[in-house]
Amino acid sequence: MADFEASLLEIIKEHAVGLTGELTRDTQIADLGIDSFSVVEIIYEVEEKLGVEVPFNANENPFGEMNSVGDLIDALDKLIKK
């Protein structure tokens, strides 16, 4: 999980155009400056770089209820383990 989390943080960071400080689990998603395009790109890169499949449907907005980057990481972790 630690390696996975570090890799995820790295990928998210590349897309976080609105981020001013450090990126941690506590960073609010709203502060990342990412949009619907970025979410699709992040999922793609997670799949490419980590060699996993994320069963994600872009129409379902499964990340709608999340607030922090930690929530996002946990959701991705759960999706991958499905």
Binding site: V17, G33, D35, F37, V40, E41, I43, Y44
Partner: protein, 402 residues
């Protein structure tokens, strides 16, 4: 009450000038942007004359992250639209956004994204980028502009190959006339300079070997260019009420189809579209009419267009000023109408006819005044922009002074 439509803003990204002032300087100086360039994809390559727009990198970054991830045809459309909106002085608040149309066409769409995607899939066994579809869809520029400015009136792309831009402008003007909108962004964009697309054009045996020579006896084909042209259209009384700088009025729009052939153009179709566009324009003196010709430089188009012009103007045809600015900016395909409508408006406003460059040798089948090689001063009342597409689809826009 009749609603008239005026132009209150223009924006252009063309090979011979990536803004309206640079474009106009290029046109009247007779500056051609046609060069030979090599395009590659994996182990394949070809070298053909093209008219590219170079040096846009910084401007693309300036459009923001959303546009940096868009296809080039969307990027150029947005650049042209921003220039046009800036000139118009319009700011899209809630009310104006709801009454604004956005009709931006393209002949092909996100061709370079498609090309890159196929190379990645077939040559490198990589799957396509997840945003591929959002980048290639022909309505991407219309959608991007709608999102950027909160434009929520009628918005879509039109596609009619080389007549796309003229159709977009004409249809948008019709929407305003009909009361479906009060303001419109209208134009077209094209960016297909990529190996796969160019190889397909070459397979058609229609590309020039050196350069584009419209109406000249030694012409031997077209040169593919890239770029975008966008107008801000506005209902005349509205524009006057807000004290806008009105650039010209759309005097008429004619569109029809040949109904004959996918490649060969028909004199009757082209002439019919011109007549429809001129129906309401008050042409008193043919010597004060400028026609920005379709003038592709292909063997078939140029004499057909010449005959069509003669059939519309009869004995007065010899008094007309005609030119093909494709000799300088190449054939922008879907965006041709967008860019050439702006060339026609600039000629009307400045009283200068841009030349047909690379005109070497008269052709008995092309016997009008094509303004060979040098710009000419001419008092112009009406400017026409001709666009005739593969598949026999014709669109002609007429502009007059206000």
């Amino acid at each position: 009450m009749t609603r008239n439509v005026v132009v209150t803003g223009m924006g252009v990204v063309a090979p011979n000038g990536a803004s309206v002032p640079e474009f106009w300087d290029g046109l009247i100086a007779g500056r051609s942007a046609i060069i030979k360039r090599e395009y590659t994809a994996d182990r394949f390559s070809l070298t053909v004359p093209v008219a590219p727009v170079d040096g846009l990198e910084e401007r693309i970054k300036g459009l923001g992250v959303q546009m940096m991830r868009a296809d080039r045809f969307s990027q150029m459309a947005v650049m042209a639209a921003e220039e046009a909106i800036g000139q118009s002085g319009l700011e899209f608040d809630e009310a104006l956004g709801a009454r604004t149309a956005c009709i931006i066409g393209t002949g092909i769409g996100g061709q370079t994204t498609f090309d890159d995607s196929y190379v990645a899939m077939l040559c490198r066994e990589r799957r396509p980028h997840p945003l591929t579809i959002l980048k290639v869809i022909p309505n991407a520029p219309a959608s991007q502009l709608s999102i950027r400015h909160g434009i929520r009136g009628p918005a879509f792309a039109v596609s009619s190959a080389c007549a796309t831009g003229a159709h977009a402008i004409g249809v948008c003007a019709d929407l305003i006339r009909a009361g479906s909108a009060d303001v419109g962004l209208a134009g077209a964009s094209e960016a297909i300079l990529a190996y796969g697309a160019l190889e397909s054009w070459r397979a058609m045996h229609i590309l020039a070997d050196e350069t584009c020579r419209p109406f000249s006896k030694n012409r031997n084909g077209l040169v593919i260019g890239e770029g975008a042209g966008v107008l801000v259209l506005e209902e005349e009384e509205r524009a006057k009420a807000r004290g806008a700088d009105i650039l010209c009025r759309i005097a008429g729009f004619g569109m029809n189809a040949d109904g004959k052939d996918m490649i060969n153009p028909a004199v009757e179709g082209a002439a019919g579209a011109m007549s429809l566009a001129l129906d309401k324009a008050a042409v008193k003196d043919a010597s004060k009419v400028y026609i920005n010709a379709h003038g592709t430089g292909t063997l078939l188009n140029d004499p057909t267009e010449t005959k069509a012009i003669r059939s519309v103007f009869g004995a007065d045809a010899d008094a007309l000023s005609v030119s093909s600015t494709k000799s300088m900016h190449g054939h922008l395909l879907g965006a041709a109408g967008g860019v050439e409508n702006i060339a026609a408006i600039l000629a009307l406003r400045n009283g200068i006819v841009p030349p047909t460059v690379n005109y070497d040798e008269p052709d008995p089948d092309c016997d009008l005044n094509y303004t060979p090689n040098n710009a000419e001063e001419r008092d112009i009342d009406v400017a026409l922009s001709n666009s005739f597409a593969f598949g026999g689809l014709n669109a002609v826009v007429a502009f007059e002074k206000v």
